[in-house]
Amino acid sequence: MNRPLDPLFRQAQQDAIQYRSGTLAISAVPGSGKTFTLAHLAARLVSRLSKSDLMKEREILVVTFTNSAVNSLRRKIAGVLQRDRGLLPYVGYRVRTLHGLAHDIVRERPTLLGLTEDFRILDEPTSHQIIRELTESNLRQYGDSLKSFIYADLLQDKQQTKKILSYDLPELTIQICERFIKYCKDNMMTPGDFYANENLERFPLAQFGLRVYDDYQRSLAYRGALDFDDLVRLALVAINENEDFRTRLQKRWPYILEDEAQDSSALQEQMLRRLTETHGNWVRVGDPNQAINTTFTTANPRYLREFAQQAENQIPLTQSGRSGRPIADLANVLVEWAVAEHPIHEVREAFDYRLIESTLPGDPQPNPLTEETQVYIHPTNQPVTPDRELTLTLESLQRWLPENGDKTVAVLVPENHRGFKLMELLQRAYLPCEELLRSTSTTREVAAAFQATLKYLAAPLDAQALAAVYCDVWWGWNLGQIKLVDLKGEVELDSLIEQATKSIANYQQLEDFLWPADESAWISRIKIIADYPVLEADLIAFREHVRHWLQAMILPIDQLMLTIGQDIFRDPADLALSHKMAVALRATQDLNPEWRVNEFVAELQAISSNERRFIGIEDMASGYEPRTGVITVSTLHAAKGLEWDRVYLLGVNNYSFPSAEPGDIFISEKWFVRDHLNLEAETLAQVDALRDDTVYREGIATGQARLDYASERLRLLYVGITRARRELVILWNTGRYSYRGGSMVCQPALPLTILFEYVGGTRIVKRPS
């Protein structure tokens, strides 16, 4: 490690990039460039392997936590390979989530696992739907066994009882069953493992979960399908039980790099340990202080700590150039306070005591200047309602954005629904914004566009269907020819489109519109053209396209779809998807030569409503990149790995960030469940008791879950703070939550009061001993 320092890197980063072999733990503080370092390391290893024997098919395997992280890592590695090393961008390595890796492994040799070669994988919505149905049917039969968990007095009230039994309890039970199944799979437990257990009768929660689990597995078998968690389990079985196969994979991946290792589950740890056991070349990068996916999973930052203790090499990346000093200080204060002073002793272990250091002068990735950095915390003694909190944010953005169009900004919320509300406000105020809240599905949108178009083409005289194409496809995909300036403010565009759509839908003798014998006649029949002449050119252009598509109807389905797709889609990813659908439907047509457009419409309907899984292109779409001048609205979880110049953290109260103090309300403790029990936690505790044959005492797991949750939320707050480069604004609200008929007013989160005092200079944080 004596190489001269590359001006691109700081010393610790360069040390990491020069890694040669063995186990290496890289613990990194936020913004220390860990992904950047990992990408360069991966590229260096890829380039080394590219000179070796072609036929050995060796690759660098990179494992990370989320799909978006996969995409952004891939893009980074590709960039380094192509730009810095002159190689092909996507060759010689693979980046996967644990599930993606498991999928690769299982798909390579399904027969090893007794699977047919065309086994199916259920996507999450489908598997959720199955569990929902099975839970509901089991509740009808065995629901009484769960009634003992409901407050007895609530069951006296007929109306309350009805609401609880028909809505609240089923929803909770579905969640419990999902947790149960996932937990069992993560722990490699099959339904059969439980039945022999004579104690089962004593654990009503586990017993109920088991029933659903058993039914669920049978339902999967009946469909010849697996779910995502099966994939991981089976991949592990395949490599554990087949030495040849394991050896082959070990040879294929002579180096394994792991990002976000603090979120690794027990199974991921096991799998990667197995895959690296012959060569030992395993690099794990992570930050235990950013472990925010531990609740009810087998993930635990402990694994990373233990790995680091035993690793042959350790490189801490402690310098971070991301945030200005005041923001980094705030994050450090949070760690210091939690470790030394958190009132609940157990929560003091939420963090490793590790502080973010500033970069040294001359650093290639320097911190923003201190004088340009600002922290604002809404006073903890000035309660605001949730609505007011959103308005304050909006007003602040309205002031800030016009002068800072060259900067990036995000509003981070604890839950999706707050984000949706804010999006509405922002849009109404015409502020440029985009959300990272739900995953939109381009697959569905593209399939829906085809579906609408083909549906019309199958019935060329159906005016309603043509109107749908005009509204949903022509304007839905922005092919319309009317510009806002043309309207001169006389009419809203939406309203004009709506009127034109209606005119088409009511058009008699559609052939006169499509191929008019007399050009003037068709115009006079669409009366609003008289009021808005701009519409004429738009409708003519639309008609041209429709004619073109109708004439293409004689072509085989793939060529018809390519013709339509070329006209509708502009974005390369959409075009790629449409190409893929065209190829897939052509294959279907070859197998079913009697199929006509109507059957394909049904097939597209299945794709667009997600019955038919159509993985691929959109999973590969590039990760999110904040844009300047556009407000990002995101949950805190989805913001992981990203950074903005200015960040708003909303809703930092004791409901979203409880501290396990008396009086805190926990999201997993339902209002109708007696004794504040966290039934999910209690269920899993019963599973543990059954598996390990240990004593189960009601309530212990609930208590532990509070501590775990409080710790994780502290880390989540830390993640939120460290997303900001120059400006950080933290708000809290009194969010009213109804609880057993009464309502509860939230307080500022305890850590927020500490930070507020610190910023105001009224608090000195003790250094932990």
């Binding site: 260096r44 380039s47 080394r48 590219s50 000179k51 072609l54 036929m55 098919e57 590709a78 192509q82 090393r85 002159g86 190689l87 092909l88 961008p89 996507y90 060759v91 010689g92 693979r94 027969t111 065309d118 199958a458 019935a459 060329p460 005289l461 003798q509 559609l510 052939e511 499509l514 191929w515 014998a517 004619r547 109708l550 004439q551 109807m553 004689i554 072509l555 085989p556 793939d558 060529q559 390519l562 070329q566 390369p572 990813a573 075009l575 790629a576 998807l577 190409h579 893929k580 190829v583 897939a584 052509r586 070859d590 197998l591 030569p593 006509r596 993985i615 691929g616 292109i617 590969m620």
Partner: protein, 683 residues
Amino acid sequence: MPVIPEFNGSLFLEGPAGSGKTTAAASHLLELIDSGVNPESILVMVPQFNLAAPYSTALAALDIGISPTITTFSAFARQLLRRFWPVIAAQAAPGLPVREPVFLNLETAQYYLKRFVDPYIQGGIFDSLRVPRPRLIAQILDNMNKAALSGVTLEEAEMRLVAAWGNRHSSRQQIYKVSTQIAQQYRAFCLQNNLLDFGLMVELFSTHLLGTPVFENYFYQRYEYFIADNIEEMSALEHDFVSWCEENTRQSLLIYDHDGGYRAFLGADPANGYQLRNICDAQLQWDQLALVSGPIQSLVSEVSSILAPEYETDSVEVPTGEVISFSTDTYYPQMVNTCVEQIKNLVRQEAVSPSQIAIMMPFLSDSLRFALQSGLETANIQSQVYRPSRPLITEPAVKALMTILVLAHPEWEITIPVSDVAIALSLLIDGLDPSRGHLLTSIVYRKHLTSFDEINAKMQQRITIEAGERYERLRLWIYDQAAQNVPPDHFLSRLFGEVLSQPGYGFHHNFDAARSIDDLVRFAARFRQTIYPDGLEVWASFTRELYELVSGGLVPAHTFDADENIDAVLIAPAYTFLIANRSVDYQFWLDAGNTGWEERLEQPLTHPYALQRNYEPGAAWTDDMEKSVQETMLKNIVLGLLRRCHKKVFVGITDISESGYEQRGMLLKLCQEILSLQRGTEA
């Protein structure tokens, strides 16, 4: 250009493609004739007819009245079986009719085989395979042909396939068994009905004609000189015959291409062919590439050093960066655009003739073909596709005519959807746009077409009187001709000539349609002559059989050899290009990440290697064997292409495949290594 030295007896000439072997052999042929050898005593054998072109071209320049026999094994066998049929019929299978047999081509063989396959398809036996029917039939036939070409029985072929599949739990064993049963039933039927398909024909030739006194007499009197070119593309049975000829002619020249064997899926057995080297009296090896540029030669060396380290290659001195370029796009359609742009540049900026450009890919799907051709068309650049086995029914004109056939025969009781009729009528009748076509059809079409005159006046106005009159003329013509009981080829040909090519109808001035219909009519005529050489009293049921064959996708569009004289960009799967043995200045390798460059096409019912003669019977086909075959395939294909490229290769890569997955093909890794060598990146 190198020259073949004088030799006596037999000479085995080997070398890579592009080393000038065939050119030299053609000169050798001319010299023989020049030296007074009777051209008729020369037999030239090639694995497929288009490979004979260099010989025919050379002879054409000579302008002699009589010429040598230039043929393929199967054509030669067919010709001699015809000639000696009475002899064979008597001794081969007593009871065989003495009448000359009917030789089946691929389509007519499939036609008969289909009868035996259909009941099993309906019984669900093949459901687990998810293979379209035409391909199922083709693969069963393929097994029979491959077995014949390796000289193994159907039963042994089945045994080999089962063994190759191994112990994996699957329905596959059962499927192999059923396929053999089907093959046996079909074979029995063929023998009973005096029909000879390819497999039967070569089997009869080898077992019952070759080596008989009558055949030997004939051969000795006729042939003294023998040239066999591209023996690496021939099957074991063909090698047997080559070997026989070598032994029984005065002089023979056997030519073997290194790194070939592209017809493995058609039974080629290059390893077996190489053994012929040992029977020859002399051996000669040429290694220099005669036609390709210096940098391309360096690239060949570079690639050889990676893919075939066993070869001794010259050290690479000329930089190769100029002759191979890589472009990476994220998505498949972007790659198509990039390719079109690059071709546009070549043609516009560098004045390259389109015929010197070939676009290749491992598989050419209809979708890709369509995308490429539309792109080039928009850029005003002509292209031609060389791809055998595209179903004729995918041609719009043919599809419309099939609809008309059904309409002409309501007694078949086939219901076609209104939309099909509407689309066909709109295509066939000028001035009948798709919306009016739909309107008209919804009124006049029930089981058959009713008269336009019976429609109420308002509707007639909507459809337009002009289009209506054309419809009426077409309708009357159809029913009139249908009543006349003519063979379907006549019906179709007249329909085109008398109506559809006339003004007012859709194929007036539509040359694409004319070509497709010509294909269809020719096929129908050939089919009729094969199946019913003596004619029939009523043609309707035969017409229906034709309809089912065509609409079932069993009839391929005319497989033409890409015409080198047309100034058009050639689009072809890499294998097809290689088998055609062409070379061009510029090659585009699209979809470089596809594993299809090294993986063979999935053909669940058959197996090119397990059915090769020297495959160990009873052995399971292992992963390692597959891997090793893949390495060979990649090596052969890449070296083969480079040796057929004079100036530059453009490699098109996508991050994400056509189906949306990351690309992992071996060609990608090869490209990475080439780049790595070129850039001398960090070790």
